[in-house]
């Protein structure tokens, strides 16, 4: 599969590529199982890329194509048809040979995931910008400075 198979529309991936992407995203960040944290495949990752990081789309297609090709050559099947353990082995093998590409993908997935409203709520955070509401922080205990005061002046006299 080659890079020219990218479909340049609002939905920049083919359905097959989208299926592979969903499987990959769930390998990167699966749901937590207790219902608190969604999986990365539940995010609108493509929407995030199209809106904020469109320059990464060709790289994403490279990743997906490499996965499809590797699944075909090693298993004779589509990536989505092999079991999760084999999917992970296959992707880890690719990560060792295409480390930078997969690291960049991971960073994009993290950036998309950790600004999603459901994820924020799962972490106990309000899904909002910091301004104008701001944040409350504990004042801290300034009585802990007593030993420092007791040791007295330490500045060097001139």
């Amino acid at each position: 599969m080659t890079d020219d198979k990218i479909i340049q529309t609002d939905h920049p991936l083919s359905e097959d590529q989208k299926s592979v992407l969903d499987a990959l995203l769930n390998l990167i960040i699966p749901s937590s199982g207790d219902g608190r944290m969604p999986g990365a495949a539940e995010m609108d990752f493509l929407g995030y890329l199209v809106g904020d990081e469109s320059g990464f789309l060709p790289k994403l297609v490279q990743v997906l194509n490499a996965i499809v090709d590797a699944a075909d050559s090693s298993h004779g099947k589509s990536f989505t048809e092999i079991n999760e353990s084999d999917q992970l082995d296959l992707v880890n093998s690719l990560r060792s040979s295409k480390g930078e590409l997969f690291n960049r993908l991971t960073n994009q997935v993290m950036a998309c995931y950790y600004q999603d409203d459901r994820v924020m709520r799962g972490l106990g955070l309000e899904p909002r910008p910091p301004f104008p509401k701001g944040n409350q922080v504990d004042e801290g205990d300034l009585s802990l400075l007593e030993p420092v005061r007791q040791r007295g002046e330490i500045w060097r006299k001139v």
Binding site: V119, P129, F131, N135, Q136
Partner: protein, 534 residues
């Protein structure tokens, strides 16, 4: 065509130019300031937006080479392990600084006398002290009185909360018997002089949406403009002109449309920071000054000091909410600030304890370190690393060395064709030994505080905020660029007020000292108005 002649022309509207403009406005003279950038708007800073973490990585990047705005000039820093970071606009680099605001110590002005290294300053701490106080008042410095690492000082506002993480690291310091204290911060901890107090947005170094960080655009500039100072933005000065008598006559600059223009002035004050100032002087060549204006000493651009910086993170079991609060200001320690003859290096370093990372940075950095994996272990690993880290930064005193320099690049230019600065800088053997010592002590501190995991980021590349020493002050014209009150030895109506003046760098963030110096030089100009050019 030349515009009307002004009494005083200040080049640069950052920390020092703003302070000098505000002070000199008392004279009633026509004060003009030219700034190559424009105003930034609080409503555009990243923390106004839901995707603020992604935005802050793109918007207002601290490296001018990455940011690449029209108002920036490129900097060739390939020959430096520390990359230059700055901001060009009203407020200068204070727009993006972290607002950690420690003063110098009395000993910092006497390192030759005390320790036999570098040079003494031509002024001392106590001469500068009233200007520190004045600057504290205008800025609205927050902090806790009584720090035993300093002579007495009274700060206008109570400290920024040290929070739970301050308690944890404070206990660590106490266990070791080391000095620590809440940081002095250029952040108003409560409403002050018409501005609302800090609401703990977090990333002060992405611009403060609240306006509680006292960057020069929200602290000095409104006051200076009210006093009648004229501020011309988007004007880039190419060179300072002189007459046959060797006096500065004004500048040639480019306006926002790229038109070459001239501005005449009776007095010229340079406030472009430790890289921009030597760049401008070196580019102002003439038959009288073939090596650059005010450079008969040959020291313009020499002795560049950058403060090598090390960062180490510790992770703790308890939830510290360390991702909240003003990122750069929590507590500091000056336990290792002074020379100790039992160590293998001269001078010392400051410890700046800063806050933790927000969610995306936690995830990306944790993945890069191998701490937060893909797959089923992801959520548990993230939980252990989020809001639980304390960052220990080290600022070492960088001593002046002639070979560390700013020159003009022979090829690279800015958008107006003005030669870009070129940085040649090496971290000295003394500094390397200091960094090695500081790493050991940082680890010792985090262990004493109870960290279950420690990660040493090492010496940080994009940490060249503190640009110092490239037009230093002194009484000997052969060994300094300006005299003891900031006037060029060679050009009697040319003054410098920025970090270029520094003789030595001390071991802490320099902005309060830069601004105190600017106020001191401005005051000297006011006191000497009748014989200013003698």
């Amino acid at each position: 065509m030349a515009d009307e002649i002004v009494d005083v022309l200040i080049i640069g509207a950052g920390a020092s130019g703003a302070a000098a403009a505000w002070s000199l406005a008392d004279t009633g003279m026509h004060i003009m300031c030219m700034e190559q950038g424009g105003w930034t708007r609080q409503s555009e800073y990243a923390t106004n937006f839901r995707n603020w973490e992604v935005r802050r990585g793109k918007q207002l990047q601290s490296s001018p080479n990455i940011r690449g705005l029209k108002t920036d000039y490129p900097i060739n820093d390939k020959e430096s392990p520390i990359s230059i970071v700055n901001f060009n606009g009203v407020g200068g680099s204070t727009v993006l600084f972290s607002a950690h605001f420690p003063r110098f110590h009395p000993s910092d002005f006497r390192v030759k006398t005390l320790d036999g290294v570098a040079d003494d300053w031509p002024i001392d701490y106590f001469q500068l002290e009233p200007y520190y106080q004045e600057n504290d008042r205008i800025i609205g410095v927050s902090g806790l009185d009584g720090d035993p690492a300093y002579p007495d000082k009274k700060l206008p506002l109570p400290p920024i909360p040290i929070s739970k993480m301050g308690n944890v690291i404070g206990r660590g310091f106490n266990k070791l018997g080391w000095h620590w204290w809440p940081s002095d911060a250029a952040i108003i901890s409560q409403a002050y002089e018409g501005r609302e107090g800090c609401i703990n947005l977090g990333p002060c170094n992405s611009g403060c949406s609240q306006g509680a960080k006292s960057s020069a655009d929200v602290s000095y500039w409104p006051l200076a403009l009210r006093k009648g100072v004229e501020l011309k933005t988007n004007c880039r000065v190419r060179e300072i002109t002189i007459n046959d008598q060797g006096m500065a006559t004004g500048v040639i600059y480019y306006d926002d449309e790229g038109n070459e223009r001239e501005q005449k002035a009776e007095v010229v004050i340079v406030a472009c920071n430790g890289v921009g100032t030597p760049r401008l002087l070196l580019n102002s060549r003439s038959s009288q000054f073939p090596d650059g204006l005010a450079n008969r000493s040959g020291l313009v651009g020499k002795n560049l000091m950058l403060h090598p910086w090390n960062v180490m993170d510790g992770f703790f079991d308890e939830g510290l909410e360390s991702h909240l609060g003003p990122q750069g200001s929590c507590v500091l320690s000056q336990q290792f600030y002074e020379t100790d003859p039992t160590r293998d290096f001269d001078r010392g370093y400051g410890i700046q304890v800063t806050r933790g990372s927000p969610p995306i940075a936690t995830a990306i950095n944790g993945y890069a370190r191998g701490d937060i994996p893909w797959g089923r272990g992801h959520h548990e690993a993230f939980r252990k690393h989020f809001g639980t880290n304390i960052s220990v930064s080290i600022c070492i005193e960088d001593l002046p060395e002639l070979h560390n320099s700013v020159t003009l690049d022979s090829d690279l230019t800015d958008g107006n064709g003005i030669p870009a600065p070129r940085i040649n800088y090496r971290i000295s053997e003394n500094s390397q030994k200091m960094l090695a010592h500081a790493r050991i002590k940082s680890r010792e501190l985090l262990e004493a505080a109870g960290a279950w995991k420690i990660h040493d980021h090492g010496q940080i590349q994009y940490a060249g905020w503190h640009l110092l020493g490239t037009a230093r002050m002194g009484t000997d014209p052969n060994n300094s660029v300006v005299n003891e009150w900031g006037r060029s030895h060679d050009v009697k109506n040319l003054f410098i007020v920025d970090g270029s003046l520094f003789v030595t760098s001390a071991a802490g963030n320099p902005t309060t000292t830069i601004q105190a110096l600017a106020l001191y030089v401005a005051d000297a100009i006011k006191k000497n108005l009748t014989n200013l050019f003698d």
